[in-house]
């Protein structure tokens, strides 16, 4: 009734090609951004910021990066944890070794290093495909584990191999408060997600999708597989690298290579699969599902059992948490194999014809 585009005529290509062609979408998006920037800080507690929202934003960013590679270009990668690690350690090294380097520049340089690393480990994609590529990218993971555990230079010769940062500032504003961190992550995420959205709508994105759908046919119509695949690796690992640096700098504060283990790679891949392959908005759903749900479960389960008058140990809670979480993944994949993004698209479609479905 309210959500339909009747009467909205496009008179130029420009108008027809916007990200949100329907006016209601634009209004909703503007309201949502306003909500995220202005209203959330008024409602959220310190805990919500530090433990839920900031990890969610950072992992959304990482998931956008992985989605470009896996969802848009069809190159399955298990090296995302390594790209995060390279981003984090490179940003750390620039940050502590170059005196007075602005944080944003350190993050971007971290992303650039992750990009170069991603390109190198993307080279096998020119020869191997599918699951074999997943195994090949696993090499990146093991290599980065080795690199940051063994080569002391990267950890600034810290005796324990753990590194830490403090006193983060952006343009003179301290990033110590959770609100400042939240805004900073939100800003970076919005800018990068917008760029990513525009990339996948443009010529490069179409090349990636052509490669994904059938690389031989794509090559026949004149798309260079090398350029397309490596550019996907480059863009993806750049974004993932920045997310890794944010995770280390803003969330952990002090970290060791175990923070970017192969678990992290799997987590990111699951985010993309559950959220929706080949969908930017799906990355956000996937990140929310993987990051927020386990934490929510670990708090809701005791509340539920408390209502029933039972007291269960933290061990059983974490076991039940894993079981429920696993069950939900299976359930979602059966109900909607294309991920949460598809559910979102379907509900939007239904809303357009509501209340008179035909």
């Amino acid at each position: 009734m309210f959500y339909r585009e009747n009467g909205q005529f496009k008179t130029s290509y420009r108008a027809d090609q916007q990200i949100f062609p329907i006016r209601q979408d634009r209004i909703a998006m503007a309201l949502f951004m306003l909500f995220a920037i202005a209203v959330v800080p008024m409602l959220a507690s310190d805990y919500l910021f530090r433990a839920i929202l900031i990890p969610f934003l950072i992992f959304s960013l990482a998931a956008v990066g992985v989605n470009i590679l896996v969802g848009y270009c069809g190159q399955i990668s298990l090296g995302s944890g390594a790209f995060m690690a390279v981003g984090a350690y490179a940003a750390y090294n620039f940050f502590v070794r170059v005196d007075g380097l602005p944080l944003i520049l350190a993050l971007i340089l971290g992303g650039v290093c992750a990009m170069l690393f991603g390109i190198v480990f993307g080279l096998p994609s020119l020869r191997v495909k599918g699951l074999y590529l997943a195994v090949a990218t696993l090499a990146a993971q093991f290599f980065s584990d080795w690199l940051f555990l063994r080569v002391q230079w990267f950890t600034n010769n810290s005796s324990s191999g753990s590194v830490s940062v403090n006193g983060l500032q952006v343009f003179g504003y301290s990033l110590d408060s959770p609100l400042a961190k939240y805004w900073f992550c939100l800003l970076l995420l919005s800018v990068i997600a917008l760029m990513a959205k525009n990339l996948v709508r443009g010529a490069v994105g179409r090349e990636w999708m052509a490669i994904r759908d059938m690389d031989v046919a794509a090559a026949v119509i004149g798309i260079r597989p090398m350029y397309a695949k490596l550019s996907a690796f480059a863009v993806s690992s750049f974004i993932v690298g920045i997310a890794g640096a944010l995770w280390a700098f803003l969330y952990l504060g002090a970290w060791e290579p175990a923070a970017f283990s192969v678990d992290q790679s799997f987590k990111l891949l699951f985010m993309v699969i559950i959220g929706g392959m080949g969908s930017i908005v799906g990355s956000f759903f996937g990140a929310a599902f993987i990051v927020v749900l386990p934490i929510a479960l670990s708090q809701i389960l005791p509340a539920i059992t408390g209502l029933l008058g039972m007291e269960i140990s933290t061990a059983s809670i974490s076991h039940v948490e894993l079981m429920v979480f696993g069950g939900l993944i299976v359930w979602f994949l059966i109900v909607e194999p294309h991920g949460l993004a598809k559910l979102w698209a379907i509900s939007k479609q239904k809303l357009r014809i509501w209340p008179f479905p035909h």
Binding site: S164, A259, T314, S318
Partner: protein, 443 residues
Amino acid sequence: MKLQTLAKAAALVLAIASTLAAPAAYGQAKEQFFPLLSYRTGPYAPNGVPWANGKQDYLKMINARDGGINGVKITYEECETGYATDRGVECYERLKSRPGVSLFDPQATGITFALTEKAPNDKVPLITVGYGLSVAQDGQAFKWNFPLLGSYWTGADILIQHLGKKEGGLDKLKGKKIALVYHDSPFGKEPIPLLEERARELGFDLQKIPVTAPGVEQKSAWLQVRQSRPDYVLLWGWGVMNSTALKEAQATGYPREKMYGVWWAGAEPDVKDVGEGAKGYNALALNTAGTQPKVIQDILKYVHDKGQGTGPKDEVGSVLYTRGVIIQMLGVEAVRRAQERFGKGKVMTGEQVRWGLENLALDQKKLDALGFAGVMRPISTSCADHMGSTWARVETWDGAKWNINSDWYQADEQIIKPLVKAGAEKYLNDKKMTRRAASDCQS
């Protein structure tokens, strides 16, 4: 998807959101809150569980026996970290703003490192008994960290002293080969600077053999041991790594009598599965085990006999359980000490508890009164020294139980002090921070 389902989903999301937002709404503290970070799942669970049980049972006992700390009831909540740093940080964020929060015992070196950066902002102290950041002994650089009773550096130093004594003098270690088989994480790497320093001084050959975490696969590490045949092996493991190492040593034929573990590699779960195969294996002992101490008897009487024990009754008094009890006792005594200055029968804030930790003075008389006679040595902390005591002994597994068979050793200050100072200076320099002023010690 029908609208009804949508509505249901929205309701679910709202429910989740409201549970998550709930911790914000708390009133004034009337009770002293102890957050308990623990892990009862994952590869480190066999060792994490008794530790967590000991921590919780001691609090229950204090509530049941004394009615709290000078009448202030103790509350607690456990949060499962699974030994993972990110989950640990989440737990910390969840529990740190509870009213009456006293201190955190992160139970993991990785989590300690992350929380070290956060605790000063939130003004909650961290106690890391026998683990964590070794340089944090320097209280003038690390205001909020308390590596009480020992760090990996003091532990490693005591092991070297013990080996020297066995050989008939520290100078006899010259030319010996000592291998460090370590958990490849900050936990395992921490002792390396001290061992390198000692190797330079005494002239022994230090061989570093990393084991990838969590340590279930150690074939290549023990192949190296087999090839180089070191005179001694120092085992720096935790959780499943320890029992695996002992099994591998057995398979390789490396004598267990020449293996020395850190105090985190010297508990029942590490050797029980290996049984006879671990006979002769030695480890550092930070504390005794057994049910004879009065405090353990009190826990059995006031908690377990009433059916309110946290874990199985027969594990009460095991090595790590007792360590958990000690850790919690130190926390409770810090609150008591703070109450002496800031008001008896009041709930202490994190800052006040920090003062209590910094001015902790538990002499033998007090320990006896608390029921810890023979369990541990007296401890006394100060603004400059956040450790309080660096004494430990060595124990040996006889196939059925741990026997302490050495005198107390004290870590060599001549070695530790310069290392701690240099490490703390480096930390402060890297962070562009300065030492605490002398006047700050009064706060």
